[in-house]
């Protein structure tokens, strides 16, 4: 697990162009660049597939056919992976926020929780997968466990950092009304850490997809990971490419979805123009 996924301070300012017209222009530029790169990859695949056997590099057309087959025949596996991902992400988010809030608000237990998180983040994902196979019989429990122990520390650490970054002048202002601990949490701390929760989700969602597929590959007979394993064992590289293509699309769609929800929740936050 890479440490750079854990934000250590305030959510970074996202540079955006100052004028709307140039922002639109930048978006179009990004789309054009992406299309150019995808076209170049398709051309390269087409050329390479003419010079090497099919089991090394399939043609773009065969990958397209395999993608169609997956979408019509294997949709259930995509949904299963998505459901596992959603459950683990939701639980990690809630539990991570609780753990992070306890770390931020209860100094007595803070060093112990921080030590647990440091140890957890030091354990390789593969170790957790193998341990889960030994510990749990049920496949769903295994995958849920693996994803949770990997994702939860990110939320806990970022929420903790968010609480540490609470502006003292605002805390003093709320304190001047003599709030209860719950009211302080509700009116000051929770809204303040929302950006931290979103930046964590955006940071881990791609990583979570990779871990979910990896966990399915090791511990499950259904889901994208298991289908990729099946494709590999039956020498269907076109299907491996098709699944990979779908995973990239899935990642982009999830990132876009999280960003859309973030915009809804953080509509109060002005975008900062950095020149």
């Amino acid at each position: 697990m890479s440490d750079n996924l854990v934000a250590t301070g305030r959510p970074p300012l996202r540079p955006v162009p100052a004028r709307k017209a140039s922002r639109r222009g930048s978006g179009q530029g990004d789309a054009v660049a992406t299309l150019v790169v995808v076209a170049a990859m398709v051309i390269a695949m087409q050329i390479a597939s003419g010079h090497v056997p099919d089991y090394i590099m399939p043609s773009p057309m065969s990958v397209l056919h395999a993608t169609g087959d997956i979408l019509f025949g294997d949709r259930m596996h995509v949904l299963v992976t998505l459901a596992r991902l959603a459950a683990a992400l939701a639980f990690s988010l809630v539990a991570g926020v609780i753990v992070g809030a306890i770390m931020g608000m209860v100094p007595l237990v803070r060093p112990f929780l921080r030590a647990i998180i440091v140890i957890d983040t030091g354990i390789p994902a593969l170790s957790w997968m193998l341990i889960a196979v030994f510990w749990f019989k049920d496949t769903e429990t295994r995958i849920f466990f693996i994803l949770t122990v990997i994702l939860l520390p990110f939320y806990a650490m970022n929420v903790y950092e968010g609480i540490r970054a609470l502006p003292k002048d605002l805390v003093d202002m709320v304190e001047s009304f003599r709030p209860s601990r719950w009211q302080m949490l509700r009116y000051m701390i929770m809204p303040h850490i929302v950006p931290y929760i979103f930046i964590t989700t955006k940071s881990v969602v791609g990583y979570a997809i990779r871990m979910a597929v990896f966990a399915e590959l090791v511990a499950s007979a259904i889901g994208i990971g298991s289908r990729m394993s099946l494709a590999q064992s039956s020498f269907r590289i076109d299907q491996v490419f098709a699944w990979t293509f779908l995973l990239v699309i899935l990642n982009i769609a999830l990132q876009w979805g999280v960003s859309a929800i973030e915009k809804l929740f953080l509509k109060w936050r002005p975008e900062v123009a950095v020149r």
Binding site: D172, E175, S176, F177, R178, Y187, P191, W268
Partner: protein, 264 residues
Amino acid sequence: MGTIDPVIEIRNIHKSFGGFVAVDDFSLRVEPGEIVALLGRTGAGKSTVLNLVMGTIGPDQGSIRVAGFDPYAQFRELKGRIAVSFQTDRLLPWRTAVENAELGLLILGVPKAEARTRALAWLERVNLKGAQDKYVHELSGGMRQRVSLARALAVDPAIVFLDESFSQLDHATAGKLRRDFHRIAKEFGKTCLFVTHRIEDAIEIADRAIVLNPGARIVLTEEITPELRADPARVRACHARIAEAMGGEGEADDQESLAPVTAG
């Protein structure tokens, strides 16, 4: 006034930070409905006195009673009895103007609908009608300070503390807000203690201006009556006495800001 129990009573307090004596044997009585200004140069101890009275810090010696309670030892007992307007607006950026104004009411446990109605009424009183749905970054500095004032007054506190609340604003905006605050405070009978380094703040708002030297030692007390405010010559003389007591400090170079004010 002397027969009524004081709302704020400070007796012989001392407060040191390390070796630095911030407050040395300071005493003060503020009567119900009275507005008292504490003036002084930087480091005079006026903000420390305010922090002690607000209960943010406790005194090393002496006693403080605010509405009958020790503000430090009985911190939560003052819920709903006091409110503070700070030097900067301290608005929560994720809340709109009206959501900020109703914050204190919600903390007091006022039902959401009633809190909203009362907050809207206070926004109207501070001339912010129509700006209730704007987020903080959409408001000007003066508008933000008005929201901050509405937030403090909306909880209907008996006592209001102002901590340099007008000092970040330009003279014209500060003058308008001062007059609005004075009108509201007198109309609703609020007791107010405020610290400022601007002499015009004290002359336009306070019933009594107290000038402090380092260690919060009182060097001058000026009674400021409505008659004094209505007389430019007396205002200028009062201003000169306060400025002299402050050692020539105090931002009052804009004589237009010292225009006569009608109380109430």
